[in-house]
Subunit: 286 residues, 2 copies
């Protein structure tokens, strides 16, 4: 099944747009998991979260950095967790967040790691090296290729909002005379990189104006992975209002720290799911 | 010792600007290393290369993708190789090529992996999320933070050469009215991100005109990591001519595939070193 198909199916079944981030920082994992440092602590922690949340999410996302941080044991935990998901919950899309951006030959090795070794369904990639570099990902029709455009960090504007003079006639008709870099990337992805209809975009919840503009630009068909609510300060209501499409979906709303380290992650993920659904009901009047 | 100090010292001692890329693709490693798939094949291969080349390089570079590609065994080989270098050749700078670009909190985990777990001296990073995101790297005064600006891949111009309208008055005095994105990044790095004097730039050998322009912009003090000669088609003479500073250095010239899979890697690395030094002699007239 293709990534977007799998995602839409589960979002519908679980009535959820919540993407739970298993960005499990070994230093923040509760003490009761830390008794035996020889065990794959991050996996044991992840398993306990998955077992309590799998009915309430549309996907799980893993930022590889928190696993690499402790080396071999971290990578082992990441692999064990994804294996566990594939075995017990094969219907849940697994996104690996690695923001990869290298040359074509190297990206082949990354695609092998992310899709073939880890078995992920989707991956985040960096656009800076251009479409040609990303082909080893873009050719994978069944996978979700999630291109970062406007990221959630406070300093994102430094390069992403630089004003461009566009000379590309095929695109100029569709855009204003001068546009910021992140919007140019959105156009490249939507009109040129998405030949296999497997692209999505990363748009940070901390920038609802930009999110709204991107939704206006791409129409209702595109899905966005939206990090930044919770610990990073993005406002949920503004996010849903700005980013929702007219079908009442199109958003994969990511949260991690505010849920996984809570004493009751099940309650927190359910609360977020319900808040989102309440907002959707109020904005979608059919 | 700081990265640049260590690099300059070894480049002088070994009379070499060659950075040997141990981008050891398991599928391309000679058959005699492949007898026992349970052993860390990439490490054994790397060790054999290091033992024959350590006197002829200014640094070793590891692109992590080729290790991740096979999962745990790959990461194990990467760690073993860097440990071997630290123990036997602590004077050689180790660069980890991971082109990292994530938010600040996540980059802390990456810095922990690259510098504290692997023990690397330098790392390549992606500028797209801006200076604020990269602070966990930039604060490490003793490390080399190598920012990609113009990459070596054939499709690099898609975003990197986009024309910008600059509104930043502190920079506008130094630059032409309209400049391509990769040059803007160069200015940001040189004038704003390099507070700890630990930044370098990645500039592909396949774009000698851009390399020349960047050298003109930044003066003699900056060092560039230059991939793209050999298998990617970059011309060595054009590279040295365009990128050398007036001290006859400032370039870390990377080669991997053309050397490490050769039947005689020692001969190939020595040949490259000599070719570079001959070119340097002909361009530096003191």
């Amino acid at each position: 099944m293709r990534f977007l198909e799998k995602l839409e199916k589960l979002a519908k079944k679980n009535k959820s747009l919540v993407c739970l981030g298993l960005d499990s920082d070994i230093e923040k994992i509760p003490k009761n998991f830390q008794n035996n440092r020889n065990k794959p602590i991050q996996f044991l922690f992840n398993k306990s979260i998955i077992d309590r949340t799998f009915s309430y999410v549309c996907s799980y996302k893993f930022n590889v950095a928190f696993y690499y941080a402790i080396g071999l044991k971290g990578l082992q935990s990441l692999k064990l967790t994804i294996d566990y998901l594939k075995k017990n919950h094969p219907e849940i899309p697994v996104i690996v967040d690695a923001k990869i951006g290298d040359i074509n030959n190297t990206n082949k090795a990354y695609a092998q790691f992310i899709f073939d070794y880890l078995g992920a369904d989707g991956v985040t990639v960096n656009p800076y090296l251009g479409e040609e570099s990303l082909r080893p990902f873009l050719v994978r029709k069944d996978k979700g290729i999630i291109v970062i455009s406007k990221t959630s960090n406070p300093g994102a504007q430094e390069l992403q909002n630089l004003p461009l003079e566009i000379k590309d006639d095929s695109l100029r008709k569709k855009m204003k005379e001068k546009i910021p870099l992140y919007q140019y990337i959105v156009y490249q992805v939507v009109y040129k990189w998405n030949k296999n209809k497997n692209c999505l975009l990363v748009v940070g919840a901390t920038y609802p104006n930009e999110l709204k503009e991107i939704r206006r630009m791409v129409g209702d068909q595109f899905w966005f992975l939206v990090p930044g609510i919770g610990a990073q300060g993005g406002d949920l209501e503004a996010t849903v209002k700005a980013g929702l499409n007219r079908q009442g979906n199109g958003l994969i709303i990511h949260s991690s720290r505010a849920i996984i380290y809570d004493i009751n992650p099940q309650k927190q993920v359910l609360k977020l799911k319900k808040e989102i659904n309440k907002l959707i009901s109020s904005y979608i009047i059919t």
